[in-house]
Symmetry: C3
Subunit: 165 residues, 3 copies
């Protein structure tokens, strides 16, 4: 007699809504921990979270309208520009966190992102946020996919845990 | 031989703790996505999240004590008054987000709430928050239920994913 | 014929990232609700959340380096010093919340923590955060364990719901 096959996915889904440096770090530490245990991980970046996936330098020849330019000017470009939710001190806080992470041999957020990608994490940029803020695919780091709420919910239903960070 | 019936609920539970406009939008976009896939959705509004469920106009004849009046004066009344977690700019940020959502044919938060209710979402106001802040049932929009942590946990245990937003 | 045993754990895992008084209160109200229903609860305290687990008085004879002293000076010591995410008013907001919680016979956060511990909740302090901020085990209240991301993920995979607060 056959055992029934149980729905036993241990995949994880993480929605990264926040663009705070320490929340993005927390998201990737959890993701990389799960990947190292052999779990599939989908990370869905929406609203401020999307800033973490921007390339450090904006590609040339990207055209934006007035409002898109405003967002462009005001939002941080890439993981190196993310701020802290507390104790930001005009940018000194993130410098401090980065220094002590390095002193304690903890990977930087850029390394954490690279590790996640090379271990197979799916990084998905929210289509609606891109539309709203006028962010173009060429502005995002290599390896990022684009998806909507249906993509997100499909990942959620294949996961045993979903975190909203 | 009968197949065993597996616990396969795909319901979703969302706890809306934040009253930030963009987090409330995210909560309802996820909720409406799940509803359109035929899932049951319970949304539990607590602390600042409860502001999203207030009617735009306070009903007449509601009596509040001094502390309740203070909360009443200081907290936003209804979804049209919610602020952004970042870039609020004394209320200009939300105006901007609302404008670009409209420009991109994305439903306003008021429409998102209406859609959720008419598609069967349960919107539950946290009893304890109402007691603490002196919010009366008559101040909340039609269709909202009231419940406590037990109501919340029952929904959680019938769901395959719970988000704390 | 035997029924197959289904994976039916109803344990809960809560990651407390935030150190905001009202989010910590929400976390413990959910935890204590689940404990009272007979569920096992693991709470994992990371980044600012760890402040909630500090003893009110720093034990004597703890040596810290310069950066650790800076964190020590700037971060709140224990649950009585936590601030609100909104309406903090230089500390008046938390006093108000505490007063109205008392007026409504709701347990203080210190009582909520004690109840959780005595009902068997596992309170786990994040090793990495302790390392980064130079927080020593002797600074944390009695009954707290220390763990890393693997401890967290193990709890997650034994739970039917995980909240990131």
């Amino acid at each position: 007699m056959q055992k029934p096959s149980l729905p036993s996915s241990k995949d994880k889904t993480i929605i990264v809504f926040s663009g705070d440096l320490n929340k993005v770090i927390a998201a990737f530490i959890i993701a990389n921990g799960a990947l190292s245990m052999g779990r599939k991980v989908s990370m869905f970046f929406t609203f401020w979270g999307l800033n973490a996936l921007k390339k450090e330098k904006k590609p040339a020849n990207i055209k934006k309208n007035f409002i898109e330019k405003m967002f462009d000017f005001m939002l941080p470009r890439g993981s190196k520009k993310l701020a802290l939710s507390k104790m930001n001190f005009s940018g000194f806080g993130p410098v401090l966190i980065r220094k002590i992470m390095k002193d304690h041999n903890i990977a930087s957020v850029e390394e954490l992102i690279k590790t996640a990608l090379s271990n197979g994490a799916k990084l998905i940029a929210c289509q609606m946020t891109m539309d709203l803020m006028g962010i173009k695919k060429e502005e995002l780091i290599e390896g990022v996919e684009i998806g909507g709420v249906a993509t997100f919910l499909e990942a959620v239903e294949n996961s045993d845990a979903t975190l909203f960070i």
